[in-house]
Symmetry: C2
Subunit: 340 residues, 2 copies
DNA sequence: TTGTAGGCGTTATCAG
DNA sequence: CTGATAACGCCTACAA
């Protein structure tokens, strides 16, 4: 087992000093051609690679990014992560992922763990519990220590940092309008009852569209479900309400609505038109294929990583730092669950 | 901006030596109660946390695990990753993920990047390209340097290391048998044409079951598709072959087969029974719900992490190291796409 | 052209 | 009980 070789080994072997080796390997012209050749050859032969940890300690730069997300088995977060990873890698950064599992405590623990030197900056989406508690002290801690932070999707106004969000309200408005424009009048909204920032925004857009379409908002037509996979409320809801259009804040609710509705004898899209959020595989492979709002997670992730790395690499002038909020434009992907 | 505080700061402030501070914070009983109290109080006040990087350098242990997978937007890998992350976290490890994107080069680059001190061990599934090329030098490099490695799912015999695999052949056999036992005779296999180790094993199981059921293997009934999302071959295949049962090596092919078959007028499961691999959301929300082979990615991930951390923490006796291959037992989840 | 010394933050050993 | 010193691996200003 060939253990990793260090500058010291090379120096000893070649009977020169460590700093000579260091300089030679950087091709410094303080060092003679001969010595450099000798050292470089030796280093190559033994496959010398500088130790990342030592460099990190020296430079106070780890070239690691910490990503803290509520869930990884979730199409949207996964695509965002892919965007982050891809971009970060291109810039020579590695990505450490921690999953908060929607738990406030795990979010805090994970961040503390990483904040002690393991990473140069954070990218995160808030855990559900955190948004409920509205306790953002762990984020404040981190930013006060000068660790750059980028929030995406599930963000909060209470923290000053770069953010990347979807134009949730706008696209929900647009989607609802498209239902209205195709003649729909009794449009349901299926959403989550936790106070996720995004669900709120989507509801705002939905309501605004109704208003514009001169349709009175009807709380009866809003179904607030506790969480992603908790879909039992859907069947009674569809049975007890006459609806002809439906906007869902995620894919799963939408798909399930479609299958329940079909079972109840409705045809889609003629009797009920359906639009969901998150353009994942469910939407592409359902029957009928679901019209959906593509959130472009890759793009969000890439943007988040870009903002973060810029902050990391540009030593901004402390006090009057500027924070930006980038808005990623969602797009409506029309498939078979809506008319034309 | 309160910068991170170090032992040195505390020492200076309290006019003691650095080593006294270090010991006091570790509650060493070399240090007097008084001094400890004073130092600990100060440390708490200024929220002192030891710097991970410095500790890593000292201990030659990073408490980081490197995970290299072909794809993250893929249900199976995602669940494995979740298993790894969960277990690793419990043991105090962080997880650095690199996505190879099925590319050999990216796999190599990523591993080299991480192997220079950033991680204590690797968990990985081979990229498609790597399995095609059969070039495993980068893995050899790593193991020769004494970095523990655990392969999962997409493994190779050419590398001596711990492995975690599914009982692919067995479960494919079992699934095929269940089709045969419900009276199916013309059973198709939808698989990938790359030489993924897992696809091969599954085909082996499929063939074995046919044999056992006295059904002659018919190459006509095997559809080999180039890659996951490339599903155009399915429609002609179903049109030109009379089949009554179908085993697919993934969810997407299976779901698509169902919808094409339904469009062609077949009813499922009566005319055609369908079983897929990967128990993801597609299976749960399709109509009819897909009978599927649950790979228990979480469990695989957990097992992989467990094996790895054991290797990392037990300084085994070099030469006569023992490597184990753990087999995770898949289970057949019966839903609506098969009879009874 | 080469080498020495000091430092990044921590810990362990040993001396006082 | 406290502190000085060296070490982990690397870099760099400065001395020779």
């Amino acid at each position: 087992m060939r253990r990793k070789i260090t500058l010291k080994h090379i120096a000893r072997e070649l009977e020169v000093s460590i700093s000579t080796v260091s300089k030679a390997l950087k091709n410094s012209n303080e060092i003679s051609r001969d010595t450099k050749d000798k050292i470089q050859a030796f280093a190559k032969l033994y496959n010398y690679k500088p130790n990342n940890i030592a460099i990190s300690l020296k430079n106070k730069r780890t070239k690691n990014i910490g990503v803290v997300i509520p869930d990884i088995v979730h199409h949207f977060f996964t695509t965002v992560f892919r965007g982050i990873e891809k971009y970060a890698n291109k810039r020579g950064y590695n990505v450490i992922v921690c999953v908060s599992d929607e738990s406030f405590d795990r979010e805090v623990i994970n961040m503390e763990m990483l904040a002690n030197g393991s990473i140069d900056g954070f990218i995160m989406a808030l855990a559900g519990e955190t948004q409920l508690k509205k306790d953002y002290n762990h984020l404040k801690e981190v930013t006060e220590q000068g660790i750059p932070l980028v929030l995406f999707d599930r963000v909060t106004d209470e923290i000053r940092c770069d953010k990347v969000v979807l134009n949730d309200a706008e696209i929900a408005f647009e989607a609802t309008m498209s239902l209205i424009n195709s003649g729909r009048q009794r449009i349901a909204l299926i959403t989550t009852d936790n106070f996720f920032s995004v669900s709120n925004s989507r509801e705002v857009g939905y309501r605004k569209a109704l208003k514009k379409g001169n349709i009175e908002f009807n709380e009866q037509l809003v179904l607030r479900l506790p969480y992603d996979e908790d879909i039992d409320g859907i069947e009674p809801f569809l049975k007890s309400n006459k609806i002809d259009g439906l906007l869902s804040v995620n894919e799963i609710f939408a798909i399930h609505c479609m299958s329940v509705a079909q079972r109840l004898g409705y045809t889609i899209p003629n009797d009920i038109s359906v639009i969901g959020f998150t353009d994942g595989i469910l939407s592409k492979y359902s029957t009928p294929k679901l019209t959906t709002i593509a959130q472009h997670g890759d793009k969000m992730g890439e943007m988040a990583a870009k903002l973060l790395i810029e902050k990391i690499e540009n030593d901004f002038d402390e006090e009057n730092e500027v924070f930006t909020t980038e808005i990623i434009k969602a797009t409506l992907v029309k498939r078979e669950s809506t008319i034309n």
